[in-house]
């Protein structure tokens, strides 16, 4: 037995079992046949530190390696985001490595774009070819600006690094314009501070929480779930505003089933109530805020009585919650949600939310928001680059409200920032529009790394048109997703457990920390780390000086040196915490004779924004009524499954098993009216006649009758990935319309309406 490896043994016993099964059950007491498995934890294991890349939260993890394979991932107890726990997606990182559907070697297209015909290529051939094509696009059109770089997650910033070095301002990730850009812009306009990736809410000390369309639990960010439940366990009261009885709503003291699209009305009415009944924090507002009189004047008309009519909520409930909020202030908080782009007025909606928080006197106070302290880590010492690397991160870049400072010989961004919208990093749908219509100038090359543009951006037909209009299109990914199988060159990336990556810096409860990633195992197949792919490509594009490091340990050691640690030490520690460089609360600043660090032009919280006014926008939020669904249609709302990240995990063997397909939530009465059974498959059709794939009905009391809901990320067209192919429906297929937020450039996609077009059988 000792000559066999464990896997060989398992194979053997499985084969024997199969053979015996054919002979009947007579030999079932044969010990060989029934041998208990040799579990991974019975082998010797080695622990490797990393941070999770199954989503962008990046919890610190410990990967247990047995028999040369990652067997189990545990949360790292020393990591402030993980605290020893992981969400289901984090647990399933193992199966990202051992998913047989992975891209296995570089591929070069042999057919038309979208046809999915490829031949295998070596890395050097594929990289030479890609570099030649990209250089050709640059020469034939308008230089580096003719090439766009769309990315997402940890490897993505290496490709915007190329864009910055080469001189293309057309780079970014979906996380800004399709997710939280509006909240970042709104927070910066109001407080002069971004919210950032990890929301600085002082959950520990808050006593009254109001969530608006914020699906904690269904949105399974480890620390957020932990802190949220910690607050409730500590006795905090919870109000949930949502057209759907979400998991969070099931924990709430007040559920306000609001009419979708009317959230700003509710927020303005609470502001009205706090001011009219003199329940706001007068001292705080006088001392730290500006523009109160303009706000007061504006919200005068937005009474709870008016809001009750608009939002379809009871006036008494609106008033009761507003008064409770005031009673607990400043230990009352209205945290913004992540997926902020809903209706196109999103910056103003979130301005209203932040202003409400300001009236509760909670920013920089216990139980509200703390001033977050990012850790200091030195940048790698690159030669000066043509542009700043703005492609990474979700907060719209450090200077999100600033002008882009492009050199004279670089064209303005093709997404028409400045014309279509005012602030923020790249607006992905507007870039796709530019590619599709060659307006304002031709963008003829595209590199997409880890961003499924067929599932992230609305107007899928336009995305297809854009891809057809390119001279060259390359994709870097782990799986053969839809958008990958349209590329001229496909480069297979190693999963996060097989590679080094850059340091990850974040804060939690005002503890800044730095996490480290090293390969837990050798890469499977002929895959390579993102940094390596970018370096090799960059060198071939004549940008070698911007990738001066020989290997990644050298790069990491360069960044770690000023911190007095080395790669070798990080391999032992995984995560290191830094002393706090700034204080969490206003009183900490004032006790040292300093002003609180509100980074607005006035240095105060701007209830009324001169920046907006100077740019022709309303300095104080007002209410715009959303378009009503046409007769017989329902507003399409969408959200998350706790076991999936966007559209990228539906093929993960463990996650697809737990949540294999989505369902459309339809209010029971409406379902009755349409004669629909629970679990029956239907085809949805939107206002433009766009149809979904068949999707199961979830007939439920847990949603209003004027909208339907589905989880995002399903409904794939990936014949090469059976687990996810044709499972459920994609909301993107039904989002042929969106409303552009003229301030943040975000795409509000909850403006689509659907009806049941076809009824099928039950599952």
């Amino acid at each position: 037995m000792t000559d066999f490896s464990r896997r060989d043994f398992l194979k053997l016993s499985a084969a024997t079992a199969g053979a015996l099964a054919l002979q009947g059950t007579g030999t079932f007491q044969d010990r060989e046949v029934r041998a208990a498995p040799n579990y991974w934890w019975q082998d010797d294991t080695a622990t490797k530190y990393s941070y999770c890349d199954m989503c962008y939260w990046h919890c610190g993890v410990k990967a247990e390696v047995a028999d040369g394979k990652v067997a189990k991932i545990y949360g790292d107890e020393n990591d402030p985001l993980s605290q020893g726990n992981l969400c289901p997606r984090g647990q399933a990182g193992v199966k990202q490595v051992y998913n047989p559907d992975r891209l296995k070697q570089p591929l070069i297209s042999t057919g038309k774009r979208g046809e999915g015909k490829y031949r295998k290529a070596s890395w050097s051939e594929a990289l030479d070819y890609a570099a030649e094509k990209l250089s050709g696009v640059s020469e034939n059109w308008n230089g580096a600006e003719s090439i766009a770089w769309l990315n997402h997650c940890t490897s993505g910033s290496w490709f915007s690094h190329i864009a910055a070095a080469w001189g293309s301002p057309n780079t970014g990730s979906p996380s800004h314009s399709l997710c939280l850009g509006a909240r970042e812009i709104a927070s910066q306009l109001t407080f002069g501070l971004p919210v950032g990736e990890h929301m600085p809410v002082d959950w520990e000390n808050t006593e009254f929480i109001t969530l608006i369309g914020n699906h904690i639990g269904e949105n399974s960010h480890n620390t957020l779930m932990k802190d949220f439940m910690g607050a409730l366990d500590g006795g905090a009261s919870l109000t949930v505003v949502d057209p759907r009885f979400s998991t969070a709503a099931s924990k709430a003291d007040y559920w306000l089933p609001i009419k979708p699209g009317t959230d700003t009305a509710l927020l303005l009415s609470w502001i009205n109530l706090l001011i009219r009944e003199n329940r706001y924090d007068r001292n705080y507002v006088q001392k730290y805020a500006k523009g109160f009189e303009e706000l007061k004047k504006r919200v005068k008309e937005y009474t709870p009585e008016w809001a009750a009519e608009v939002t379809d909520l009871e006036q008494s409930k609106i008033e009761e919650v507003g008064r409770e909020m005031a009673r607990y202030r400043p230990h009352a908080v209205v945290p913004p949600n992540r997926k902020a782009s809903w209706y196109g007025n999103d910056t103003q909606r979130l301005r209203a939310l932040f202003i409400l928080n300001a009236l509760l006197g909670n920013y920089g106070r216990e139980g509200g928001f703390y001033f977050s302290a990012a850790p200091w880590v030195q940048d790698y010492s690159y030669p000066s680059m043509k542009l700043d690397n703005t492609g990474g991160g979700c907060s719209g870049g450090g200077g999100a409200l600033g002008e882009d400072t492009l050199p004279e010989d670089v064209r303005e961004r093709a997404d028409k920032k400045g014309e279509k919208f005012l602030y923020g990093s790249l607006a992905e749908p507007e870039l796709i529009d530019a590619i599709a219509n060659e307006d304002p100038y031709p963008v003829k090359g595209l590199v997409v790394a880890g961003n499924n543009i067929f599932h992230s951006a609305p107007k899928k037909e336009r995305t297809k048109k854009a891809l057809r209009n390119l001279d060259f299109y390359m994709a870097v990914d782990i799986l053969p997703q839809e958008h990958v199988m349209w590329a001229d060159v496909i480069l297979p990336e190693s999963t996060y457990l097989e590679r080094y990556n850059d340091l990850f810096t974040a804060h939690h409860k005002s503890t800044p920390f730095i996490s480290f990633k090293e390969p837990a195992v050798e890469p499977m197949y002929n895959t390579k780390p993102g940094w390596w792919i970018a370096k090799e490509l960059g060198e071939r594009l004549g940008l070698g000086e911007y990738f001066p490091f020989e290997d990644f340990e050298e790069y990491l050691n360069d960044r770690l040196k000023p911190l007095g640690v080395s790669v070798e030490e990080m391999k032992e520690k995984g995560t290191i915490k830094q002393p706090q460089l700034s204080q969490p609360f206003i009183e900490d600043f004032e006790s040292q004779g300093k002003k609180p660090p509100f980074g607005t032009p006035s240095g105060k919280i701007e209830l009324s924004s001169d920046r907006l006014k100077d740019n022709g926008f309303d300095p104080v939020p007002s209410y715009d009524e959303p378009e009503e669904p046409p007769e017989g249609y329902y507003r399409l709302l969408y959200g998350r499954s706790p076991v999936h990240s966007f559209s990228r995990t539906q093929d993960n063997p463990w996650l697809s098993e737990v949540d294999p397909e989505n369902a459309v939530w339809i209010n029971s009465d409406q379902a009755e009216k349409m004669g629909l059974e629970d679990e029956q498959y239907v085809v949805l059709e939107n206002q433009d006649g766009k149809r979904s794939k068949p999707i199961k009905v979830k007939k439920t009391e847990r949603i209003r009758g004027d909208c339907v809901y589905m989880v995002h990320g399903f409904g794939h067209d990936t014949p090469k990935m059976e687990r996810q192919d044709e499972k459920g429906a994609s909301d993107i297929e039904l989002q042929s319309d969106y409303e552009l937020d003229p301030i943040s450039g975000s795409a509000g996609m909850s403006v689509n309406f659907v009806r049941v077009a076809k009824k099928g059988g039950s599952s």
């Binding site: 029934r34 208990a36 726990n85 399933a92 480890n222 559920w255 098993e657 737990v658």
Partner: protein
């Protein structure tokens, strides 16, 4: 000698299913079967609603019908009170599956034997929590010695929030739901 039990605080559970996947990973549970599952129950009608997030797994009952019904003594109770299966003695007859009121057992498709939650006995023997408890982001799962008066589980089940699902089955499960509203208890 300890007397281990597990409680799930359903008020603290946010339904993320990290426990389900952690169990799958820890115990190399084959595709198509689970040692631990969760599901959501909807109660009431719009807008007066409640949901309960139920968790199901082997309850390591004191009075375990799976043990008494097993013809080969493959199912047994060990010295720490865990209900266990000696896979080498199991003939896959499924009597235990029929006897279990909690539907906690299944036939392992790779080995042909009956299989179920072990409370991660291999971890517990090293002084660690089961994998499902270890990963839970909201500390909704509590594991410990029911006979130890200082244990957290003992404290938690001593309050008035406990429900024993299908108590009428009479198996004395060592698995508890804490499902009264947190506020109600605190008030």
């Amino acid at each position: 000698m300890a007397n281990y039990g597990l409680a799930v605080d359903l008020e603290k559970c946010v339904g993320c299913k990290a426990c389900v996947v952690a169990c799958k990973a820890e115990n190399e549970v084959p595709e198509g079967v689970f040692r631990l599952t969760t599901h959501e129950l909807e109660q009431g009608s719009f807008p007066d609603l409640d949901t309960e997030l139920r968790h199901d797994q082997c309850r390591h009952c004191e009075n375990a019908p799976c043990i008494s019904v097993c013809p080969t003594k493959a199912s047994y109770r060990d010295e720490d009170g865990f209900v266990r299966i000696d896979f080498s003695k199991c003939i896959g007859c499924k009597a235990c599956m029929v006897a279990c009121p909690y539907d906690a057992r299944f036939i392992n498709p790779e080995g042909g034997y009956a299989d179920k939650c072990t409370y991660c006995i291999h971890r517990v023997k090293e002084g660690k929590d089961p994998a499902c408890v270890n990963t839970c982001p909201t500390d909704a799962r509590i594991f410990g010695d029911l006979d130890d008066p200082s244990s957290k589980i003992r404290r938690e089940i001593s309050n008035n929030r406990v429900t024993l699902p299908q108590e009428e089955a009479g198996t004395n499960p060592k698995f508890f739901y804490l499902n009264k509203k947190l506020n109600e208890v605190k008030a």
